[in-house]
């Protein structure tokens, strides 16, 4: 891990729930809103723990990105699980989410 990623208290790290669907979507969006209250937030979303995600989960991630951008911030996504990889592939929305293979790589870019 480089010096740039060792101490990144300026970055908000979010880990979505293991199931990202209609049932969990609102709680996750609430958590996002509470986590990015300051202006120009830097946000890293670690997707490694998502075991299942559907279009509701996808919408939650799109909402997250919009909320961060509306505050003039930056958001990166990292370590997509197979479930997230599948969803991104099927919906062809990979290009919307700036995604990195590892948390370290994503932090380097912020």
């Amino acid at each position: 891990m480089s010096a740039r990623t060792r101490d990144r208290s300026d970055v908000v790290v979010l880990s979505p729930p293991d199931v990202l669907d209609l049932q969990s979507r609102e709680a996750f969006k609430k958590k996002v809103r509470e986590s990015i209250q300051r202006e120009t937030p830097k946000v890293l979303v670690d997707l490694s723990g998502v075991q299942f995600a559907d279009s509701e989960g996808l919408t939650a991630l799109l909402s997250l990105a919009r909320m961060v951008h509306e505050k003039g911030g930056e958001v990166r996504f990292c370590s997509p699980s197979p479930a997230v990889e599948r969803l991104f592939r099927i919906t062809r929305l990979y290009f919307v989410f700036e995604t990195y293979a590892s948390r370290e790589e994503a932090l380097e870019s912020l």
């Binding site: 199931v19 669907d21 209609l22 049932q23 299942f52 559907d54 279009s55 509701e56 996808l58 919408t59 799109l62 909402s63 919009r66 479930a83 599948r86 969803l87 099927i90 919906t91 062809r92 929305l93 919307v96």
Partner: protein, 149 residues
């Protein structure tokens, strides 16, 4: 008893979000066994995702004013897995849903696209106050090498 009768299950649940997880767990187990015969778990997970989208569609749109009934039938017919979802809520018109705009992604509207993309058949019908969604995905025959294992 025919093979399709042996390899089928029916569920009747309240169309509410908390029921998605247990139903999905059951379907995942069955679909993994069917599709797993070819060792292609991703096909099973794609079909499960399509069924999830169908169930979510009923919960969100058919019964938007409260809970209603959702019936789920899963069966294996020949070389395909089939799911029929039935509800008695507001009719759903798939033609009224615009396709995703990949140049300007919007928040929502991907469920129908997913269902159509990952299945070999996706049909909506309305008859006598009943909404029906039929989903089908082919189970590929094992290759000779796989069959010998």
């Amino acid at each position: 008893m025919s093979r399709s009768e042996q390899e089928s299950l029916s569920l009747r649940i309240p169309a509410l979000a908390p029921y998605l997880l247990p139903v999905r767990a059951l379907l995942e187990h069955v679909l993994a066994a069917w599709f797993g015969e070819r060792g292609d778990a991703d096909e099973a997970k794609e079909f499960l995702l399509a069924v999830q989208e169908g169930m979510t569609n009923v919960i969100r749109h058919a019964y938007r004013d409260g809970a209603g009934r959702l019936e789920i039938e899963l069966s294996r017919n020949g070389d395909a897995a089939e799911v029929v979802l039935r509800d008695w809520g507001v009719p759903f018109d798939p033609e009224a849903i615009p396709p995703p705009d990949f140049d300007r992604p919007r928040e929502g509207g991907y469920g129908l696209y997913i269902m159509r993309t990952v299945t070999d058949g996706c049909v909506f019908e309305r008859s006598g106050g009943e909404n029906l969604l039929w989903l089908r995905k082919r189970i590929l025959a094992p290759t000779p090498a796989e069959a010998r294992r």
